[in-house]
Amino acid sequence: MNDRDNNSNKIISKAATDEYKYGFVTDVDTTILEKGLSEEVVRKISALKGEPDWLLEFRLKAYRHWTTLTPPRWGHLKMPEIDFQDISYYAAPRRKSESAEIDPELKRTFDKLGVPLEERLALSGMAVDAIMDSVSVHTSYKERLAELGVIFCPISEAVRDYPDLVRKHLGSVVPYTDNFYAALNSAVFSDGSFVYIPKGVRCPMELSSYFRINAAQTGQFERTLIVADDDSYVSYLEGCTAPMRDENQLHAAIVEIVLEERAEVKYSTVQNWYPGDKDGNGGIYNLVTKRGLCRGNGSKLSWTQVETGSAITWKYPSCILRGDNSVGEFYSVALTRNYQQADTGTKMIHLGRNTRSTIVSKGISAGHSQNSYRGMVKVVPRATGCRNYTQCDSLLLSDTSGAHTFPVIEVGNDSSVVEHEATTSKINEEQIFYCNQRGISTEDAVGLIVNGYAKEVMAKLPMEFAVEAQRLLSVSLEGSVG
């Protein structure tokens, strides 16, 4: 037993020293707004972005509401008090010269991150909106998409070019009154992507945003708005990284998705913010509100997330199934190690008749981490014939980690069926023994078993992402064998 403990300690310390490979800092001139938050700052952000009055009004309303709120405490998270006056709310990499399309330094950064901004280098069939700190750096394939009528641009551009569309949908799914962080985001949001898919269009390529926090002592508050009109389809990917720093940085984003009749949206996230070091110092606080409104009949929204980063994750991508026969899906793998904490899950609100939802959540906890699933399935009385299936499994890789499940189920009629299943266990020793017997080392065996365990979710990711996510999972797992 001692031998095994020693051995696993060795492996764990090796894992802990594994470097976070995206932890570099880009040396780029950055305009940073002074720290602190006030109406003045909100006005300044709005002015910097040259926004119309209605948006400033929206921000100010959100700010005033935010001042009346206190941070939510119900998460299974140990979070130190955040000083919201000690954060800079706007940071923009400065352009070196007006002529160059993209700053070469930025281009190098994104190349290093594996996000090529030049179209010829890009994986075929993927348009990227790259966002560094508070501004969008570049959006590729804009023109080609425009031919189909697809709008894919930074949200600040969309405010300028398509004010009616943005105004109609902004805050319609996540109102600024929704929660503390949503109010904060609504007040100070900087950039993010805007997507509009017109009626009947199947977006020919994957759309993707890549978020990067670079500047120190700033927060990132991006806002993504996706509108899928009748009979349209889009698959959207989101990736994110940040440099290694001792301080905690705040990331409070909002993603809103509106789906009209028979529209289908697939939203995939591979979240790899800097998780902090092996002692739990530094790392990103990822406090995100993501929600989709299936407004039209027969629409379908599918969330897939692979969460491996962030010191603290507080995130519940949700579906409001208002249209009859609409479908919501949530597939999640959350891996925590060292002192990471994750409290994540989903909400499926069944308002329409015959709506269906599926939740598959896989948690993996190693080191001293805490990993929670928190979810809600609600069926209102008039939503007859609804169906939900929830499965959430937790795998514990160390005896110092924790795995928790907090589901809520509310059913208000007699024709709906809701099922919830959850298990918590450690890796089956027999399976490891079986692998060992066949010459597979314990570590590889764990990797194999975990990958098999997460496969159900991985299979839902678009191909390019799946490869990345699988690699990420095995890198993060390396040495976590207890």
Binding site: L396, S401, T405, P407, V408, V411, H420, K426
Partner: protein
């Protein structure tokens, strides 16, 4: 105003009366309860722990409290006819204890009031009263503040009490009444005991609130079965807190059955403190009309190699509402714990509502824990199958519902009681009173 305040005021005003009649240990516990109560407000409906149950609505009635321990004047016409159950029967009329005719002395087993216990088993009372219950539950604090007496069931070490103990709680008063009941079960090492508690309401025209705190101390290697069955009226509210502490190798079964009621909230707190302890927690509710049944369970595993198995089943019809919140906690350094939790529900009508929150909090890796929750309907195909074979739709429904709850009944470790329960559930599903045929309590 805080609905609890009037009871604090009542206590302050009649403190001497309350304390005079009670053993010292009960009076000591009141200090903390009074402090805790005065600092808390009644949880509002929708708050984390009281999502579906409206305590404020329950406390809206101005209940009287039997502070002077007046004896109930009515005639006791009751005999439990469960065949061969041959229990030692005791009655609790509102909140006062009456030894039944069939109560027989048994060596090694004592059933007495807490006041008697203060004289005969002071050490047991000192050691166990109020130790498990915690004042941060408003319902427990209120009970501790106002309880003047209660029942002690004490089983000596190594004694195997074969005859089950039956406690029949009867509510009957000519005014709205808050009945404060308290039970303490102490099973010394290696002993075993079975307790059956039945709740009845006789005068159904009044609003009643029964507040019950049960503490069960299961010492090393003891076996305790605690069955609770509620057959009350729509005007009856019940707020119960049941606390169990299990020492090494103990085996505890708790089974809560609600057949007819008004508003019921049952809290179960099980503290698994010793290795190799086994816990079985079962619950069942058949609710129609406006019935409301809410169960809150918390099993805290803080010793290695323990096993717990929890299953709650609800059948809801009409406008009934059901709620279940279960938490399994496995503390750090408790390897080889196996914990299972299940909550299965049938919504049999359009307006029936179910809220369920099955939760796991696990801090040790070498465990096997799972939970499952379903809310659904009867199997259409099974219904159809039976109809093709000449079973009427109604009857087929009843059969399926009966089958649905049968595994909770099957967990009962008392053969005659199990048989009787099958029978009662059948009657209840037929739409009849779930009374035992000869139970004259309601006549």
């Amino acid at each position: 105003m805080n609905a609890l305040q009037q009871y604090i005021d009542l206590y302050d005003a009649y403190r001497d009366t309350v304390e005079k009649a009670s053993p010292a240990v009960m009076n000591r516990a009141r200090v903390e309860a009074r402090r805790a109560l005065s600092q808390m407000a009644l949880p509002v409906k929708g708050s984390e722990d009281y999502e579906a149950t409206d305590l404020n609505a329950i406390f809206a009635t101005d209940y009287g409290v039997n502070l002077n321990q007046m004896r109930w004047q009515g005639e006791l016409r009751f005999s439990c006819d469960v065949p061969n159950l041959s229990t030692n029967v005791y009655y609790v009329l509102n909140d006062t204890f009456v030894a039944g005719a069939s109560a027989r002395e048994q060596d090694g087993l004592t059933v007495e009031t807490l006041a008697q216990a203060a004289l005969r088993h002071p050490d047991v009372l000192e050691r166990c009263y109020g130790v498990l219950s915690h004042a941060d539950s408003p319902t427990t604090a209120l009970n501790t503040l106002l309880a003047q007496n209660g029942i002690l069931i004490y089983v000596e070490a190594g004694y195997n009490a074969e005859r089950p103990i039956q406690i029949v709680n009867v509510l009957n008063a000519d005014m709205p009444l808050l009945a404060v009941r308290r039970v303490l079960v102490v099973a010394e090492p290696g002993s075993s005991v079975k307790v059956l508690v039945c709740d009845h309401t006789q005068n159904s025209s009044r609003n009643y609130l029964s507040s019950e705190v049960v503490e069960i101390v299961a010492r090393e290697g003891s076996t305790v079965d605690y069955y609770h069955m509620e057959e009350s009226t729509p005007q009856t509210s019940r707020l119960s807190d049941l606390y169990v502490r299990q020492e090494a190798g103990s085996n505890v079964l708790v089974d809560g059955i609600t057949l007819t009621n008004g508003t019921t909230r049952n809290n179960y707190y099980i503290d698994v403190a010793g290795e190799h302890a086994q816990t079985r927690l079962l619950g069942m509710a058949i609710a129609g009309g406006e019935q409301h049944v809410d169960s809150y369970t918390r099993i805290n595993h803080r010793a290695p190699r323990c096993k717990s198995d929890e299953m709650f089943k609800y059948v809801l019809t009409d406008r009934a509402t059901g709620a279940f919140a279960g938490k399994i906690l496995v503390q750090p350094d408790c390897p080889r714990v196996e914990a299972y939790q299940g909550n299965k529900n049938i919504c049999g009508s359009k307006e029936a509502k179910m809220h369920t929150k099955p939760q796991l909090e696990i801090y040790t890796d070498d465990v096997k824990c799972s939970h499952g929750a379903t809310v659904g309907q009867l199997d259409e195909e099974a219904l159809f199958y039976m109809q093709t074979r000449g079973v009427s739709h109604e009857q087929a429904r009843r059969l399926l519902m009966q089958a649905f709850v049968s595994d909770v009944i099957a967990g009962v470790r008392l053969d005659v009681l199990r048989e009787r329960l099958y029978h009662l559930v059948e009657r209840r599903l037929d739409g009849n009173d779930a009374m035992c045929a000869d139970c004259r309590i309601n006549k």
